[in-house]
Subunit: 394 residues, 2 copies
């Protein structure tokens, strides 16, 4: 693997982590502020559990895998204790949104809060040695799997007597969640079961080779739906799925999974990259019909980051120079348009033409997760000094 | 009132109505297609009840108030019969979304479908003389008022034990709905009660003179909320409310209501107009903090249309030349950027700089409503030939 010039670790430790350490910590109420403007000033105080949990996971991971800085463990503890105290409802499910002081605002029909709570508890437990955190991770994981597999346990958005469909998001997040659980907690037959299910769903139902696409929504039995929802492609999501698959392919040394992952990446770059202005589109219709999302051509931070990870992983696994070229091309676009050298972190939301549309650094959707994870994963994959675990095992 | 050059009626009858007559009618299943691309081709088949009902209302209104063309009544009947057959649940509430053939997909916790169903049935009943439609209008209206006034009858989005707040949308839509009900069905003490409530809410709770703003969300007792939701201003929504208030002010000859309406219009134009590129922004934070909506600086079709109506109504009511200037300025922006002279109707979604972001003519949100209503209301207000009712009574 030919060397890359980028100093991912330096960008992570000097350009991104300090922004969250300086601005996000809510010492008065616990947990983190995520509504942070360009300079890091707080513009909203509600706490979205998935972002709280992601930040716990991220700082625990840096502590566990990069450097055992007590400051990072302290950051993780602030969020973990907030979650442990406030995030769980009496039924064991996890709220979606809390007030600044932890009172419940919303619980949703989705299990994303639970998936991030599980990996937060697992990675924090590994960092702190807190056995209760590890047990909470296991319990949260078992609960979300039970809810996911029990029809009718979550109120459906669409009347299931009329239409039954399913979303890529769940098998995809289960893949990443399970990988993190295994890393923190060791093997478990349940993890094999979940991984097998997720791989079957993604590869067998959402991937359609004849259309060169990984779809966001399919019918209950994997049918292609001829509707705007059924034709929707989210290039960033597909590319994120591709590196989750690459990680699993590398761990198993499975060339079939790797082939699918690389195909998804190739198709998504070909379809999703804006040749006129650079950057990945947010949503596309596979047939070129009008997308439903107003922001379809905006350039969001996270798809670009996922593409940096996926192209670098593909280069590491195949040695093909075109992946290295793509990685550098995307990295240049990010460096030119997203990185805020004055105040740290990346902008989140650009217009199609690359101008900044919203200059906040955090929101209900953007927290201490995609940017630091991107830089961390790229640092791991590039792994010049060989002192780290292989990237797919760290 | 000095004459305006614009031929609103010609634009309506030749440039907009034919698009919907040619492309939206679903003769096979009843009702209307609203997922229409630039040329009018169908790209999705689900039927959102509020758009079905709005089109019934619009074509009935044109039949009743502009010209008794049997073609327009036929269009209205196609939608009315679909609604009567499929839109109502067993409890009398109205579904939010149906399949193409009328099977229920979603029922929501909001009453917007009911408000549009009520005015659709009322205006269609007036057009057709169908007494069952008029009775359905009355029943739907009574039901939605009962649900609105009965705490706990609709599942809250946010846990009311933690936070209770309310949205401008309901008192605003009740004002417009009640006006239409009264026009179609005559006086009723219930209408006076609803109008009094709506005016008190809008003027007493959402309007804050010291901040020169009409807010989207306030606390249950009208408190200003210091959060992104509580600071949110939707200039198009505020301007739409301003002409609803002007209509009521003109009907009652009430100068206090008129003063509030004109202030809301003035504030919203001052704050919402983009001096760099023209057009009204979609969302702003009253303190200039980051808005929550990614599309905050996009130029959507309906705020511009509402501003055409409101400025023309303000000019008609006050004779002040600056409202005439604003009306012409907004009309020029619309003509230059939104009107599609090749295929009819207006584009719905522009980037901040006025380039087209999404070229569809219809969607889950855009149907045969805001554009024809804008042109119809402007035609009424300009009312050169004096053959029509005063605009606030038509």
């Amino acid at each position: 693997m030919q060397s890359l010039d980028a100093d991912y670790c330096g960008q992570l430790v000097d350009g991104v982590v300090p922004f969250w350490v300086e601005h996000s910590l809510d010492r008065a109420c616990g947990g983190y502020h995520t509504f942070l403007d360009r300079e890091g000033q707080v513009y909203g105080s509600d706490k979205y559990v998935w972002l709280q949990a992601r930040q716990v996971w991220m700082f625990s991971k840096l502590y566990n895998a990069l450097e055992a800085r007590s400051e990072w463990l302290d950051v993780a503890r602030l969020g973990y204790e907030f979650l442990a105290k406030h995030a769980y409802d009496a039924d064991g499910r996890v709220f979606f949104a809390l007030t600044r002081d932890g009172r419940p605002l919303r619980k949703r029909r989705y299990l994303f809060s639970e998936t991030f709570a599980a990996i937060a508890c697992a990675e924090y437990g590994r960092a702190s040695g807190d056995e209760a955190a590890l047990e909470r991770a296991r319990a949260t994981y078992r609960l979300l799997w039970r809810f996911y597999r029990t029809p009718g346990s979550l109120e459906p958005k669409i009347d299931p007597r009329t239409r039954r469909c399913k979303a890529l998001a769940m098998p995809m997040i289960l893949l990443a969640t399970t990988h993190e659980m295994r890393l923190a907690l060791g093997d478990d037959p349940l993890y094999d079961e979940v991984l097998a299910h997720s791989l079957d769903e993604i590869r067998g139902q959402f991937l359609r080779r004849e259309e060169r696409a990984l779809f966001e929504t399919v019918g209950a039995d994997g049918e292609r739906l001829d509707s705007p929802e059924g034709r929707c492609i989210n290039p960033g999501h597909a590319i994120e799925a591709s590196w989750f698959l690459m990680r699993e392919a590398a761990r198993r040394d499975d060339h079939g999974i790797l082939r699918d992952a690389l195909d998804i990446l190739d198709w998504s770059l070909a379809r999703g990259w804006d040749e006129a202005y650079g950057g990945l589109y947010s949503f596309l219709d596979v047939e070129g019909r009008p997308p439903l999302q107003l922001e379809w051509d905006m350039k969001l931070w996270w798809p670009q980051g996922e593409a940096m990870i996926a192209t670098l992983a593909a280069y590491a696994l195949t040695g093909e120079a075109r992946y290295r070229s793509w990685h550098k091309r995307i990295g240049r676009y990010v460096s030119d348009h997203f990185v805020d050298r004055a105040y740290g972190e990346w902008y989140g939301y650009l217009h199609r033409d690359g101008t900044v549309a919203l200059d906040c650094k955090g929101s209900a959707f953007k927290g201490a997760f995609h940017v630091p994870r991107t830089l961390w994963m790229c640092h791991l994959i590039a792994n010049k000094d060989k002192s780290l675990q292989p990237w797919y095992l760290a």
